[in-house]
């Protein structure tokens, strides 16, 4: 039985604001950024705001409110407004929600948007658990763990212990991303880096150094999704949503936020189950993917996703990256735009917009002949999410 979602919807519009280093977008407001990205994406699709009837998001970040967005942009009638839960990577999942709604007839043109605007002040001076987060956090925070990179570094440390993964392996990810961003006119970090630069960067949370980290950025990116049928009549080359998946194994659970995952997949990204669902739904496998946009908050977590998604066997992602497998001319070009490491960090939404441009054949760093792409939203706690897109 062919899954009903398969190829039934398409991403027909992509839009972005100018990109900024953290805190540089003020005095614009976050809704102004989001609105500009949406207007741009709707124009790109050749549609108008009158056509839009759905809004989806990944909820973390800034907690967008459909009420204000619809009022601000003059959307005549909202029929669908949903949000991916969790604090992990949900931009592909939010597009999955759009596809599901369209497929079910509950919306026809759905905008998905992800803005980012970094606060210009520090919000905390103690390890007190933020209200509503739950006392389980105190089992972590009493140690001075306050940042996602610290938690992910403990996962990657375990991978290094089990498989001999090295800092050079992670460095290969950072260097490849920067090289790709160097050709992107709108990237926030374009100066090339070498392995010497990487290895001499200051240590942040050992084994993660400064260059293992993504940027903190301001800006917004948006997509427009509609039915594959309607996409045929629109101006841009349609990019079909081949499959969408979100979730994760229950025992992964809070994942990087609790570190209680079973030993058998602790040194991992949590994407094993999501990847299996994705390929099953798509009816294709990792060998069929031409280009992959892999959420890259930390370079080591890119490696672990490559393993969970079947591009490499466990323990083999590091050598694969170091030998050039992830580069533009490699077996699996990864983060062709430079990712959150070097292009811009909008909570993973630009991984989606880049994949769409690759499938249209109009990317700056176009992978020649690419017809199928995979996008992940990022490993953290459940749900993780991912998409497979293909040229229409």
């Amino acid at each position: 039985v062919t899954p009903e979602l398969r190829d039934s919807t398409a991403i027909v519009g992509v839009g972005e604001t100018k990109f900024y280093k953290r805190g540089q977008s003020y005095p614009q407001t976050i809704y102004e950024l989001a609105g500009n990205a949406i207007i741009s994406a709707v124009e790109d699709a050749g549609l108008t705001m009158d056509d839009v009837d759905g809004l989806t998001y990944y909820g973390f970040g800034m907690g967008l409110d459909s009420a204000y967005l619809a009022q601000m942009l003059g959307i005549p009638q909202v029929r669908w407004s949903t949000c991916v839960t969790g604090g992990g990577g949900g931009c592909p999942g939010a597009i999955g929600l759009a596809a599901a709604a369209i497929n079910a007839g509950m919306a026809s043109v759905v905008v998905t948007v992800s803005p980012s605007q970094v606060l210009t002040f520090r919000i905390t001076s103690s390890f007190a658990t933020p209200p509503g987060w739950g006392p389980h956090w105190d089992l972590l925070t009493h140690t001075g763990i306050v940042a996602p990179g610290q938690l992910c570094s403990m996962i990657v440390r375990r991978h290094m212990y089990l498989y001999g993964t090295t800092r050079e392996h992670m460095g290969a990810v950072a260097i490849s991303s920067r090289a790709n961003a160097g050709r992107m006119p709108n990237a926030v970090m374009r100066t090339p880096i070498t392995m010497d630069d990487y290895l001499s960067a200051r240590m942040i949370s050992d084994p993660f150094c400064l260059l293992d980290y993504c940027q903190e950025s301001d800006g917004a990116a948006a997509t427009v999704t509609t039915s594959a049928e309607r996409a045929k009549d629109l101006r841009p080359p349609p990019v079909l949503i081949r499959a969408a998946a979100q979730g994760g194994e229950g025992a992964w659970g809070q994942g990087t936020e609790a570190l209680q995952m079973p030993d058998s997949y602790f040194a991992a990204s949590g994407y094993r189950g999501v990847g299996a669902e994705l390929y099953k739904s798509a009816g294709i496998g990792p060998d069929d993917i031409d280009v992959a946009e892999i959420y890259d908050h930390f370079s080591g977590m890119v490696l672990l996703q490559l393993e969970d998604l079947g591009f490499c066997k466990p323990g083999e992602s590091g050598p694969f990256a170091l030998e050039g497998g992830i580069r533009l001319d490699g077996k699996l070009p990864v983060n062709t735009h430079g990712g959150s490491h070097s292009h811009v960090n909008l909570n993973g939404m630009t991984h989606v917009t880049e994949a769409v441009r690759q499938m249209r054949g109009e990317a700056v760093n176009q992978v020649v002949g690419a017809e199928t792409s995979l996008v992940t939203g990022g490993p953290s706690k459940l749900p993780m999410s991912a998409l497979i897109l293909r040229k229409g």
Partner: protein, 141 residues
């Protein structure tokens, strides 16, 4: 380089019905981990249901506090300015002897940055960081 620990005044503990008993035992310098009375699975973070059998009731099982470092990080960058004098500090996830299903987090103390290894045998050291706050840390044995 000698490992440090975060400033005492930063540590704040919120408790609820399920995590409270862990911290009450900690105040008495005892390591007590909840274990499902129905199926015997240990439960961290402490919570209202057993993920294996959905039962609620737990016994608090007192453990020796010995274990092995499962993984760790050494934090060099003070994410908050007030941590500037507290780096480097190490955070370990420790497999506890006698409780296979869970890991306990704690700072490694009385060690240098180069001493910390996965597999290293450690024991819990209770540190009273405030009159009403006691936290588990780990020392090599």
């Amino acid at each position: 380089v000698k490992l440090k620990t975060p400033p005492d005044e930063h540590v704040k503990i919120a408790r609820d019905k399920w995590t409270g008993p862990f911290w009450e035992a900690a105040a008495q310098h005892r390591l007590a981990i909840p274990r499902c009375t129905n199926c015997g699975r240990f439960r961290l973070p402490p919570g209202p249901f057993c993920p294996r059998c959905r039962a609620s009731e737990v016994d608090l099982v007192e453990l020796s506090g010995r274990g092995r470092v499962f993984t760790y990080t050494i934090i060099y960058h003070p994410v908050m300015p007030s941590l500037a004098d507290s780096v480097p500090y190490a955070v370990a996830a420790v497999d506890l002897d006698g409780a296979e299903d869970v890991r306990l987090m704690g700072n490694i103390i009385d060690a240098d940055t180069d001493d910390v290894r996965i597999g290293m045998e450690v024991e819990v050291v209770w540190v009273d960081v405030a009159p009403d706050v006691t936290v588990p840390r780990f020392r090599r044995i």
